[in-house]
């Protein structure tokens, strides 16, 4: 049951173990303090008035007792000695945790630096390789025709290769920020002053080895040409309501089955209310509009990139408006869930202190979302589902942090699960139905961390509930 799942973070994660070690260090430190205190009191008996009187009456016996007391208090193996040992062990534990954390952090930084450098290197070669290929094809029309005639097979093979070798996806996604910049800078060298112009167009964000600056640069350039602008006036209205089941035995499966259905409704947010007093599951769909200019639906590519830079997006306010429309009380427990972009929106909202002052967000569940760089408070439980062959959650270029409140579950899909419309590829690995299947395995898993997550969140699944959809649409002018 759930044997295919790889669970990181959460109650059984590395950071949770570090925190356990620090807790033990505190206990040992307190025990050491207490023992030292006792040894001092014991040692103080030597100067006790009563004992001084007894010394006059039985000097030999009292001397023996005092010797034993002194030995127990300050002698080798005595209380003072043991208290010192205990405190040294406590300090050693603290130091070990600190060293391990620093090492983890440095390794992560070094890894990111290496990937960025690799991206810059590969990106510089890309235009040259592309031009070389085109040059070869131009001078060899037979080869060009062969490539053109077989391009669909080549694309199909490429998709299957990426699906079968997810490490390639991982490498490409980690190199992407450097690769995009480097390719464009290489191309820009064709123009006199081109690289300087590109840096200026990016608003000074490029060149950069920093992920968020890389995305911000891309967004700034696109904005200058009227693309990827997070603009528009929208409103939120109640669209429909139905009874639904929120089965406590199928918590995560239910979330993603509902996300699957919600994804087909253009620009809708869904809120499931259940229990007494009620708890609320707020569901946000994944990207629905891939155009580079804002249309009638802000669940689009622009919102993706906007939030990936760490900036707030209009969609966040619209989801909050739907929650106000649903009259969610400020103290009622709220779980935010989302697939793909929906997960980015959910995490960005949970990370926003202003939003948290309005609603009591206690839990976030994401599927196939690149959210590793979004920080939420420790008292919010996060459950993130990722598929090994899904490129989308890799787009943040980092692993999700290993924290006691943040559990990441990864699963490798079968070939048939990765096949859609006759084609095996990473696209199918991102589907909500596959995430619902992973959710079902999580529901049945006996992993201690997942069991803890279920106990912490079972109040959101009390059997029967009502789901209500809220429509986001442009304001009438």
């Amino acid at each position: 049951m759930g044997e295919d799942l790889q669970v990181n973070g959460g109650a059984g994660g590395v950071e949770a173990n570090y925190e356990d070690m620090l807790s033990y260090a505190v206990v040992l430190d307190e025990a050491g303090d207490s023992l030292r205190d006792k040894s001092m009191k014991l040692g103080g008996l030597v100067f006790d008035g009563d004992i001084a009187q007894a010394t006059v009456l039985c000097p030999g016996e009292v001397a023996g007792v005092l010797g034993a007391i002194e030995e127990a208090a300050t002698g080798g193996g005595g209380a003072l000695w043991v208290s010192t040992e205990v405190e040294v062990v406590s300090d050693f534990l603290r130091l070990s945790v600190s060293t391990l954390r620093t090492t983890d952090e440095m390794l992560a930084q070094a890894e990111e630096l290496a990937w960025t450098a690799a991206g810059w290197g590969a990106g510089a070669l890309l235009p040259v390789a592309a031009m070389g290929l085109v040059g070869l094809a131009a001078t060899n029309p037979a080869l060009a025709m062969l490539l053109y005639d077989n391009k669909d097979e080549l694309l199909s093979e490429l998709q299957e290769t990426l699906y079968d070798n997810p490490w390639m996806l991982e490498a490409l996604s980690r190199m992407a920020p450097g690769m995009v910049q480097s390719s464009l800078f290489s191309l820009a060298t064709i123009l006199p002053g081109g690289p300087l112009l590109l840096a200026a167009l990016s608003g000074g964000n490029w060149p950069s080895g920093d992920y968020q600056s890389s995305v911000a640069g891309l967004l700034t350039i696109a904005n200058r040409f009227g693309h990827l602008e997070d603009i528009g006036d929208f409103e939120v209205d109640k669209a429909g309501s139905q009874p639904t089941t929120v089965d406590p035995d199928h918590m995560v499966r239910t979330i993603f089955k509902q996300q699957y259905e919600l994804g087909t409704q253009e620009g809708q947010v869904q809120i499931i209310e259940s229990g007494d007093p009620p708890s609320y599951i707020v569901q946000i769909p994944g990207t629905q509009d891939w155009a580079t200019t804002r249309g009638d639906n802000p669940v689009d590519l622009t919102s993706n990139l906007q939030m990936m830079t760490g900036r707030s997006a209009i969609i966040q306010q619209l989801v909050a408006d739907a929650m106000k429309e649903a009259h969610i009380p400020p103290d009622a427990p709220v779980m935010l869930t989302g697939h793909s972009q929906g997960g980015i929106t959910a995490m960005s909202m949970a990370a926003d202190p202003d939003f948290r002052r309005q609603f009591n967000v206690t839990s976030v569940v994401t599927g196939g979302s690149p959210i590793g760089r979004i920080d939420v408070p420790d008292d919010i439980s996060v459950l993130s589902l990722e598929h090994t062959q899904d490129a989308v959650p890799m787009l943040d270029g980092v692993d999700n942090p290993d924290r006691p409140n943040w559990t990441t579950v990864r699963r490798e899909l079968s070939d048939s699960e990765g096949t859609s419309d006759g084609q095996r590829g990473p696209g199918a690995a991102h589907s909500t139905q596959n995430y619902a299947t992973t959710g079902d395995q999580i529901d049945r898993s006996d992993d201690a961390g997942l069991d803890q997550w279920r106990r912490d969140n079972e109040h959101f699944f009390s059997g029967n509930g009502t789901k209500t959809q809220y429509q986001i649409s442009p304001k009438d002018t």
Binding site: A130, M131, V134, G135, A137, A138, A144, Y148, K151, D152, E153, L154, L155, S156, E157, Q242, P243, T244, T245, D247, H250, R253, F256, K257, Q258, Y260, E261, G263, T264, T287, Q288, W290, S340, S414, S416, E417, T419, S420, D421, G422, Q423, G427, A428, A429, H430, S431, T432, Q433, N434, A436, T437, G439, D440, Q441, N464, G465
Partner: protein, 140 residues
């Protein structure tokens, strides 16, 4: 001049690649799928169904039939959904199916699919056999 020709050739190649679909790399279906509108019309006639709102969703990354149905309070909800799924199996190849139902004041989960029961192509094949089937659920 030579460089300009190279750039022109690159643009033509990109445009041609972009204009053509990517169909020939996929496996061809071994049957002729029943058109969606015909499937939905069959579903509208299904006994025990009060209303249905089903669509085919092929927007990235999904590929399947999805929607909501309202089932008559007197009808056998599982049997009704089983027949509905069997009808949809005659449609597009490798399509998932995810239909949620409600009956009276409660929601209905379709419980006859094996495994996780979310309606992936694997689970559908296990229950209904290879596509397209005959539109009838297995007699169990």
């Amino acid at each position: 001049m030579h460089a300009r020709r190279l750039v022109l050739f690159t643009i033509i190649l990109i445009v041609l690649a972009g204009c053509s679909g990517s169909e020939s790399g996929k496996e061809k279906p071994s049957y002729t799928p029943v058109p969606d509108q015909d499937l939905f019309a069959q579903i509208d006639q299904l006994p025990g169904l009060v209303s249905s709102d089903i669509t085919f969703n092929d927007s990235f990354p999904e590929y399947g039939y999805v929607g909501r149905v309202v089932i008559d309070p007197q009808a056998d909800a599982q049997k009704t959904l089983d027949t509905l799924y069997a009808i949809l199996r005659q449609g597009r190849p490798d399509a998932g199916i995810g239909i949620s139902g409600s009956q009276g004041d409660g929601g209905v989960e379709f419980e006859l699919l094996p495994g996780s029961g979310v309606g992936t192509p694997d689970q559908l094949e296990e229950r209904y056999g290879p596509q397209p089937g005959d539109g009838a659920p297995p007699a169990d």
